[in-house]
């Protein structure tokens, strides 16, 4: 499904005349069909493939959007601090969506997925964090605003080191004893504009 979604999202720059929501919905619908076909091939119910979706499409100048179903979150900085790292004040956020209960959320695999597809337009993004629910608890305040301390620590370090060392350090932090008091999945993707 990730591959199908990526293939669909790659077409964004050539479809500027189509309203974003229509285009994004079609991209997710097609990716979901791929998941349905895979479930049929495997002889499993689609519910075995339940997943939330947090995705971002960004053009080289930092414009684009976040596409989001369910919990997890995205935080995108839109300016730089004096030392060249991202400034998280005024960052754009796509916050988690839960049901009444914290462990109830919405999945792309549910029939009602389109009612829960949220699109957040972005302009001039300098750095972006995409994360699942476990990491979102560290990166956002309860009101959904980004926690500058967390976002800055991640962004400043990853800007300084090479890709492999950065990935190892991030994985070590998210697997630390303190981080794992929260048992939820902790996937975090960081990207910056060059």
């Amino acid at each position: 499904m990730v591959r199908a979604l990526l293939d669909n999202l790659r077409g964004v720059s050539s479809t500027a005349s189509v309203p974003l929501v229509v285009w994004a919905t079609a991209a997710v619908r097609h990716a979901r069909q791929c998941l349905e076909e895979e479930a049929v091939r495997a002889g499993l119910p689609l519910s075995d493939y339940h997943t939330t979706v947090v995705a971002a499409v960004l053009l080289p100048q930092g414009d684009g959007f976040v596409l989001h179903i369910g919990d997890g979150a995205a935080a995108a900085s839109v300016s730089l601090a004096e030392d060249g790292a991202a400034n998280w004040k005024g960052a754009s956020v796509s916050a988690p969506e839960n049901g009444e209960y914290a462990n109830e959320t919405f999945f792309v695999t549910q029939r009602c997925w389109a009612d829960h597809l949220r699109i957040t337009p972005l302009r001039g993004v300098t750095s972006i964090l995409l994360m699942t629910d476990g990491a979102a608890g560290f990166a956002l305040h309860a009101d959904g605003s980004p926690k500058a301390g967390f976002c800055e620590a991640v962004d400043r370090h990853l800007r300084r080191v090479n890709h492999a060392d950065g990935a190892k350090a991030l994985a070590a932090s998210l697997a630390s004893e303190k981080a794992t008091h929260n048992p939820d999945d902790k996937t975090l993707v960081w990207a910056r504009r060059y």
């Binding site: 209960y101 914290a102 560290f138 991030l170 981080a179």
Partner: protein, 225 residues
């Protein structure tokens, strides 16, 4: 491998979600003697088990309603995070107004959920454990049982009526969703009961919604449907 410098200090969850767990405990005069001693012993074990569990101590919130004294239902322990929970000592006295206890538990749950919502703290489905060794003595207990039953059916709460020896399992079952039954405690194994409850509610606080519970009840508890 070292992590990201300075990140350790930032790994505080914004607001740890809560799993509310309310106990409705029969402290009527029929519980006097060994029964109430075992129940108090069990509550101590509950406190120890919750505090020893790194997830439960942060995520589970506990409240205790007692029924009996002055023939009333009363809040013995207001909502407390598990890490601060101190097991109360309960004294047996009075009748068994189980209906009033159920109503008080539902009202405590609603006000606690409202306060969590106001603070932006997410929560999972609450647990209600109703422990009795007798049968309800209040006149309108059936209406209260229906309110609790509706809460269970509507998934507002997960209800566990627990029958101590001498209890009317039929009347206790009226407090739960149809077919969900009643737990029966054999002997006075309250300690095992509360260690199991701590492990189960901890597991529930981590599970995705709809996940089947994997923790088996100890042998001294059976389920009667």
């Amino acid at each position: 491998m070292n992590g990201i410098p300075g990140l350790e200090a930032q790994l505080e969850e914004n607001t740890s979600q809560r799993t509310p767990c309310i106990l409705v405990l029969d402290a009527s005069s029929s519980m006097d003697g060994k029964r109430i001693q075992s129940l108090n012993d069990g509550l101590m074990a509950f406190e120890e088990a919750l505090k020893a569990d790194p997830v439960a101590r942060n995520r589970v919130a506990v409240s205790i309603v007692c029924i009996g004294r002055d023939n009333l239902a009363q809040v013995m322990t207001p909502w407390t995070d598990a890490m601060h929970f101190q097991a109360p000592t309960i004294y047996a006295n009075g009748s068994t107004p189980l209906g009033a206890g159920a109503r008080l538990a539902l009202s405590e749950l609603e006000s606690y959920k409202a306060s969590l919502r106001n603070m932006g703290i997410p929560y999972t489905r609450p647990w209600v454990l109703i422990v009795s060794d007798g049968e309800p003595t209040d006149a309108d207990w059936e209406d209260a049982a229906e309110e609790m039953r509706t809460a269970a059916v509507d998934k507002k709460a997960i209800v566990f009526p627990l029958a101590v020896e001498g209890a009317s399992t039929e009347k206790l079952a009226a407090f739960n969703a149809p077919g969900k039954g009643v737990l029966r405690l054999h002997g006075l194994a309250f300690r095992e009961l509360f260690v199991w409850l701590s492990a189960s509610v901890s597991s529930a606080s981590q599970a995705a919604a709809g996940t089947k519970m994997q923790i088996e009840a100890p042998r001294m508890i059976t389920i009667e449907t």
